[in-house]
Symmetry: D2
């Protein structure tokens, strides 16, 4: 008897209890509708982990997709994170909120083909360009929610890499584009007599930190900004604009430069991971979603201008983990339900951009004020719970 | 009334239901002992998200920490992942299992100080080297579970960055090292009359993808390897050693090179994210944990040698999310309970290294065989469930 | 009296002899026409350095620009380089020569503007796209040898970066594009009421190693390839295809990956520097020109396929140092005289691509055979001069 | 008859004149002592290229190696470069000169060995650590000018890479360390029964831009700094401290970050290339020498603090091109003759660090003032020659 031959969670648990000697929690229950997870999200399922969700905000978001106050669910096990983001929201709201803008670059899939050499590779590149509208039609036929935007190429010896960018509306879309790209690949193989070595040739480049995604973008790109008055920074964040700016330059810019980083920021990843898990995004995409840069400037009246740029945010509001009951609820908390021709994908991207900015502001301020260690000592050890 | 003034999950839920119009699941329950989450892991807590956990394996692990078959819990919402890892385990086990080795590099914290200029910066660097054993004693005094291993420096203008490496035994340790580094910083500020601009100057570099971590390591480093016979690859993975090797070179090496990646692998991030979430690791560390390289070679008798190197794995078995009930259970499933002077930290790192290798093998094989799209179509859409 | 007030080489030499106590070579002379250097290439000129030029080849080049045998001048002070390239040419010629292909990506200039914030930045981006044909007309008016190809953008906070790509025919073109971009900048400043912070905002990115140039290309891109029979490799290179391939994978791919390199090659830089100096290219562009990847494969009959890709080759055949007499002569040696609507720029790029491949082949073979140290010992110490 | 069978420059010239139809300059002459080039620096020699040398400075250098005014020879064909550096020197001198510090990291060679697998690789790593003093003794025996400083490792699958760092005193040292490493490799192969795949496995990493060299250093590391008063900047540089600082942040930091650069500077490469060629350094090392970061700050009394950090400067004052007559003369111009137990190597490194800073200051000021295009128009086209 093997694990994979068992049909139910209970059977698998019993099997594992016998094999390993542990005992599972007997009375664990799942929200209504959770059964779908076994069909679509997870093989050999034995249960769940419960990841705590705290709420930060509201944050006052000004964007094309929403001009409203939004509460943000953060799934995290890192004490102080929710409190920190919350404090950032408070400061930002006090001075008018955060402005957010986004662009749908498109999710990518990047097959690699083996040619007979450079001549065929370069010919194939030209042929794909020439046949592009034909390829677009083929893609549309695979789903009513997908279109092919553009294609980039890279050639090295007998390998030709193609990076197809797709608009997948409100879905993150990796499954859709895998299927669509398979169609394109079969067509290209058939017509051009080349062999696809791999449907995914790391020129996508999916779930790996990469300059290609930083520079050319992937998924959705988001920019956010806010201006904080000196008095707000003093009152809410207990520090000064210039102290925050000093941390920002020496840490986010120079420190990251000296470390060979692709992240010129304080902790995009914390916020990205927390929202991604709360809302059922693919957690492996935290690698990409956390790329980006946060910069500050001292502006008129000694105010602080702060801005974040996220070049590569692969997110969705339908499909994958977003369909699970508690994750879906968290999307609803932000006013997002299912798909809506891309506008919900845009909205979640912009909310993330806003939240990331609140997180940056608050952590930079903590570091500037010198309270980081104290806060962690208090919160992580559960001693005292106070505003940070 | 503001969210942060409320004291209980129910109060917060009511507040949010009123504000946003959604209704939370009424009868959600948590495992025993989950209350701790509100104290230590998550402020403004309103509940949990349930992340499905599937089990892959067992995988036959040969390492210093364990020579046994281990079942691996994977928390994921990405259909096909568990099945894919499972298939990799099966192939690897059939040919003797996976060998894993690890080293404890130490978790780092990297403060930045502002000096009067290069002369003071270089003097400070020398002084810290000279006083290093004094610093080590100070660190030990902050906790019985922490020691200071070494320190690296980087200087740019008036900024001096120090990268302190700490052994934190079975804890991932970021909180511990934040507190310890605060001690060191206060001492240095006091004795050398310099000001610390930021306790964390991105020379740590925490939760950002960075060459510094790839090159110098962070947390634990893990190497894993396996040899697969041609017949096993044909039978279990439905392809050939040379087809896998071709994908490995053109995707993991050349494709990643052309993309400016820090990940020369197929999908470390998928496995890292799934184990991290299942076992209560800090999910933002997926960014670092997924760095690394996977290489293959054709060896004697047309067998396939495959190996993975993870330079930066910040993991723990105590503290943070590992203390939560369902996460703790998942650790127990792998035979890990609490802390044990570093040996449990080593064990989870080595299990992760083994699982990552199984994941690489299986995905490279799927790509080589050309079945990736088909698998996703089947599993993600819930049509048929078959072995992949 | 200051150095800069002196008018002639002799006056400056006398001044420096007095100041420093050295004595210049009295009877140094320059080739006819060298006087131009003082006017156009070098202020405060005191003479020259003589850089030895050796000739490698001929190499049998098959490309659109030339299908002929070409002798390649290499200006170098590194013993063994010319001999090594020469050996690579011999092997390549014996099996039919090298095939080369190129594309004119365009030289870039990347100004940065300061906007009032994201709204203005994004608006400016759209405006520049809308006015693009107007910008193209303005560029054409600055010179009959320049056209504007395309523009890319990046926005971070109040900074908007534009990367203008120009076709400058046979000139490397940095001066031309600086002047043209100044025109565009003035126009944009005037019409959009923004201030250009810097005409060159490192989004060009000129003379720095950068993934942007590797990924998006700059100047000309060149691909080259050759197939070497096993017998040729044994006879001329004293090793085997598989030994070369092993070095190629472990050094050019894995070794470079582990080092965080932008150069996945053995020594592009040696060949690039030598040809650049010999032909009067801007030597600081060696930084960019040496980016790229060299890969190998074992193909039919145990032959070796080898290929090089140079993504960023800023070269010219008119202007700058190419106008100096000895440098011009070296261009003539390769059959290149002045400008010819871009075809000469293409030709030199393709010759460089071919020579780089010969250099790679020969060094990889030396390393495979284990003779590198011996060769250096012999040649660099002037002991024996033998074929390598 | 083939080129390589000919014995003299004249014979080769005649041969090429016949083959290609060009005619070489008949009356070219070389400085006394240049014959050595044929023996040691360049095979198949046919003559030289004359690279114009201009002198910038003097620059007032304050360092351990020199506290004096130094004239700097710059070999360049890029109009405006000498004038620009000169202007930077003038401003810096006016406010007390430039302070420079350096450290000898050591030049590296990085062989790669093929092991039977991870167990042997990790064992070999430990063995090399254990035998390190034995290896040091072997290295000393290869030359009286070389010592082995330390060794780093990286392991991926069956490949183990070792990075040996050597002190080579006043020589750049690549030849010396190649020979010494060959000794070590033979010893290791013999004793440990492993095979060295390549004496140079790109973990050196030589002549490629790489984060490993930026982070760990290679050759000599240099830091330089200067403080400029507001009045000096206005008078000499025609701009303001804050305008320069704005360019510095938006170009050197943010612009480079967005471009995925390893050069966070304005134009280190221009100065590096010019001094390298003037003084007979290996021009391919411009790739490494130009890595680094330049930062600025506004300090007391609205002065500008500017600093440069060069992590990887492989330079020498003996061997290679430094022995050629005109190159040697250029070293003498800076007060450097031959070798002196490392102090001359240190001195040239520190002079380069100082000059790079002057170059940065001047170009940042030109960009801040908006005069870059105008200057290039004037100087490069030979119209007017004025101070820039």
């Amino acid at each position: 008897m093997r694990l994979r031959d068992l049909k139910t969670i209970q059977e698998r648990r019993k099997f594992l209890e016998k094999k390993t000697g542990i005992s599972f929690f007997p009375n664990e229950n799942f929200p209504d509708g959770f059964e779908i997870a076994q069909e679509k999200n997870c093989e050999n399922m034995i249960g769940v982990v419960h990841v705590p969700v705290g709420v930060a905000g509201p944050i006052l978001l000004n964007s094309k997709s929403a001009s409203e106050e939004i509460y943000i669910p953060l799934a995290t096990t890192e004490g102080a994170l929710v409190a920190s983001v919350n404090r950032g929201c408070k400061a930002i709201n006090q001075d008018g909120g955060v402005s957010v803008y986004s662009e749908n670059i498109g999710i990518t899939r990047g097959p690699v083909f083996k040619t007979s050499g450079l001549a065929q590779g370069l010919h194939l590149k030209q042929w794909v360009k020439d046949e592009f509208s034909q390829l677009q039609r083929m893609v549309v036929s695979t789903s009513s929610h997908i279109t092919l935007i553009k294609v980039d190429f890279q050639i090295s010896g007998k390998n030709i890499y193609m990076r197809f960018y797709y608009d997948t509306q409100d879905a993150m879309g990796m499954n859709m584009v895998t299927i669509a790209t398979q169609e394109l690949v079969s067509f290209i193989e058939d017509r051009m007599k080349v062999k696809c070595t791999s449907l995914a040739g790391n020129y996508d480049i999916d779930k790996k930190p990469a300059w290609l995604n930083f520079i050319s973008g992937r998924g959705r790109q988001v920019w956010s900004e806010a201006v904080l008055e000196e008095s707000t920074i003093k009152e809410v964040l207990k520090t000064t604009p210039s102290a925050i700016h000093d941390v920002s330059v020496s840490k986010n810019l120079v420190g990251s430069a000296l470390s060979g980083a692709l992240g010129f920021n304080a902790h995009f990843a914390n916020v990205i991971a927390a929202i991604f898990i709360a809302t059922g995004q693919d957690a492996a995409h935290v690698v990409e979603g956390s790329l980006g840069i946060c910069t500050t400037e001292i502006v008129d009246n000694n105010s602080l201008y702060i801005s974040a740029f996220l070049p590569d945010l692969p997110v969705g509001t339908i499909g994958g983990g977003t369909n699970l009951p508690s994750q879906k609820k968290m999307l609803e908390l932000m006013g997002i339900t299912g798909g809506d021709k891309g506008s919900n994908g845009e909205k979640i991207a912009e909310i993330i951009g806003a939240t990331v900015l609140a997180g940056e502001l608050s952590l930079l301020a903590s570091l500037a004020e010198g309270s980081l260690a104290k806060t962690h000592e208090r919160l992580a050890r559960g001693k005292v719970k106070k505003k940070i």
